[in-house]
């Protein structure tokens, strides 16, 4: 597990340095009147120090057994695909409208990720999309984006 600590401590060390460096560009103020850069500078420095401590600890302690990064090797494409699908959903929501994008996303999730059969993967998304449409758009009056089809 120490290898993971090594990687993550390097990441946070970098974060801490970046935070500290960019807060130096802001007005720091002084102790009697701290400016907007005061607390970020303090946080950045402290984060840097602590992640350096974590880094040293991860180097000094011997590796205690190797833990695989993926819990199940075969499943990781699904995780990645789901993440990508959510991002695409975010960007497509405005231009294509709620109903259409939601339908596509659900069919994808049911069929590709959930490995359901086709009848479930068509009926499920149709029902779910209509339900969410009624719940959010009609009942709760949320402004969901309308697509080229007018729904």
């Amino acid at each position: 597990m120490r290898r993971y600590d090594l990687i993550s401590s390097l990441f946070f060390l970098l974060c801490g340095l970046l935070i500290a460096a960019s807060s130096l560009q802001m007005p720091i103020g002084r102790l009697g009147e701290p400016g907007p850069g005061f607390l970020p500078l303090f946080i950045g420095i402290l984060m840097g120090i602590l992640s350096a401590a974590l880094l040293i600890r991860s180097l000094s302690v011997g590796t205690s057994g190797k833990k695989a990064f993926w819990l199940d090797r075969k499943q990781w494409p699904k995780v990645l695909a789901t993440i990508l699908a959510l991002i695409v959903y975010g960007f497509a929501l405005r231009p294509l409208g709620f109903s259409l994008v939601t339908l596509f996303l659900l069919v994808f999730l049911f069929k590709v990720i959930g490995e359901m059969n086709w009848s479930v993967s068509i009926a499920g998304p149709l029902l779910t999309t209509s339900f969410f449409y009624l719940l959010f758009k009609v009942w709760l009056e949320v402004q969901l984006p309308v697509g080229p089809l007018g729904i």
């Binding site: 600590d5 009697g32 959510l86 960007f91």
Partner: protein
């Protein structure tokens, strides 16, 4: 007599049909998310937060509160029947509850946990009514240094309770503080770390972060595991515990109630830690500690009472100081702020109907939960059988729409997915999300208090140590930072905790 009078104010509020309905809706949703593993009260509340815009504030808080304590009831059902905690505060219930179920005593275990929850939940509301008013008067004495010290103390409690590593928990808290700083500086209007993004000018929202870290990350992790749940086979008979059960459970219930209430008040404490402490306590003082882990009913009664009692306690810091004790309360704070209500010492005076309405609704909600949980257990068991491949698209969709509808801004979806991936990686690298969220929420209050204190003292940092209340909190916080070096008990206790929320 004051309390009684206030109680009647609350009763009048709650017995409007609409309020009763929202209370019922809350406890129903709460029970449901409590039962479903991988969906806890914080995810459920963040999903519903946007829809509370359309409600009046009292109904909104009544419903969100109902979800919180309702989840405590529901969580035990899953623990007892499937040996998977429905939500994190029911982890210890698995130990003896599942053993009881295996011995054919699932009914008694479910019964005692429902009655224990009811007993503790109700008493903790009484506690809330008694403690909150004097505490709010006390809170009026608080100036910026006291607030700073209080939040510092809360953060150190949370870090102290961190199960994996104190160092990592502090780093997470710092990361949370940093995220809380993003956006427009309230004092000077200066833009910090916005990278030219209009969305970030308003700061990083709590809802996308919580939904990402607790909702999306959880789904991603389950997808990777390829979750297949064991279907429960035992039949449930006789939900009423027998005389012997009652005799064994009375003490643990009473102790669990008191313990849970006070641990619930502590910022960063809450339901999870109180259920653990109650279990440890009962095992220690039991004359037959060897029975624990083999189906001892005390091991169900105590922790279940404690985690429900903690929910009542958890409302106290929010309603009196305006400081949330845990992530769920932070979301409730968010809901109040949406309606322009600033919780704090003056809440009780400025919005008595809201305050006492919410308090009284918790009595009613507990009664509803007792009725919902006992006779409807067969229904809940059926819900447990829904395959995950049908469930996860719905959870994801709720997250997506919930976040979008906050501000009708698609960029918030991207923020949420970012935190989903981050949360997923945090699980792999063994970092905890609770300190991050807590720090993110409290950052604006903390920074304000810090800057105002220093202006008051003309830059003299000793201001935090020369005022008695502030000094007490600072010392408590510092002790908690030093303590972990000397103790490893904490780690042993918390080793078994799964990754969901505080």
């Amino acid at each position: 007599m004051d309390i009684l009078q206030n109680f009647f104010i609350g009763l009048a509020v709650v017995f409007e049909p609409a309020k009763l309905m929202f209370c019922f809706l809350g406890v129903l949703i709460g029970t449901l998310v409590g039962i479903l593993p991988g969906l806890g009260p914080s995810a459920a509340i963040s999903l519903l937060l946007p829809s509370t815009y359309h409600l009046d504030p009292t109904s909104a808080i009544i419903m969100l509160g109902g979800i919180y304590y309702g989840a405590m009831y529901g969580g035990s059902t899953t623990s007892i029947l499937v040996n998977i905690p429905g939500e994190s505060a029911s982890v210890v219930t698995c130990l003896d509850g599942y053993q009881m179920a295996k011995q054919g005593r699932a009914g008694a275990a479910l019964g005692i946990s429902a009655f224990g929850s009811f007993f503790a939940g109700t008493l903790s509301v009484v506690g809330l009514m008694v403690v909150a008013p004097p505490l709010a008067r006390f809170a009026l004495k608080f100036g910026p240094p006291e607030y700073f010290a209080l939040i510092f103390c809360g953060l150190s409690i949370l870090i102290y309770l961190a199960s994996a590593s104190v160092l990592k928990a502090v780093i997470m808290a710092l990361a949370g503080l940093f995220l809380g700083l993003i956006g427009t500086d309230i004092v000077t209007g200066y833009l910090r770390f916005t990278f030219g993004s209009v969305t970030l000018m308003d700061g990083v929202g709590m809802v996308p972060v919580v939904m990402g870290l607790f909702g999306i990350a959880e789904v991603l992790e389950n997808l990777e595991k390829g979750l297949r749940r064991d279907i429960f086979k035992t039949s449930i008979s006789q939900l009423f515990p027998n005389r012997e059960d009652w005799k064994l459970s009375a003490g643990p219930m009473a102790r669990g109630t008191v313990l849970g209430f006070f641990l619930g008040i502590l910022p960063g404490g809450g339901a999870l830690i109180s259920s653990f402490t109650s279990y440890a306590l009962e095992k220690r003082i039991s004359r037959h500690p060897e029975r624990f882990g083999k189906g001892a009913i005390e091991g169900v009664a105590g922790p279940e009472a404690a985690n429900n009692s903690a929910t009542g306690g958890a409302f106290i810091p929010l309603l009196t100081f305006g400081i949330p004790a845990n992530v769920v309360m932070a979301l409730v704070l968010g809901a109040l702020l949406i309606h322009g209500i600033q919780p704090g010492p003056l809440l009780m005076r400025q919005h008595p109907h809201l305050f006492w309405g919410v308090v009284v609704s918790m009595y009613i909600g507990n009664i509803m939960l007792l009725v919902l949980n006992l006779p409807l257990i067969p229904l809940w068991v059926r819900i447990l059988k829904i395959p995950y491949s049908l469930l996860f698209p719905l959870i994801l969709l709720f997250c997506l729409i919930g976040v979008y509808s906050l501000n009708n801004n698609f960029a918030e979806i991207i923020v949420m997915v970012f935190f989903g991936v981050l949360g997923y990686l945090m699980k792999k690298f063994e970092y905890e999300a609770a300190p991050l969220v807590f720090a993110l929420v409290l950052c604006p209050i903390l920074e304000n208090a810090f800057r105002q204190s220093l202006m008051m003292s003309y830059g003299d940092l000793t201001i935090f140590f020369t005022r008695p209340i502030s000094l007490a909190f600072m010392l408590a916080g510092i002790v908690l930072f030093i303590l972990p070096v000397f103790t490893s008990v904490r780690k042993k206790l918390l080793d078994r905790i799964p990754a969901e929320e505080q």
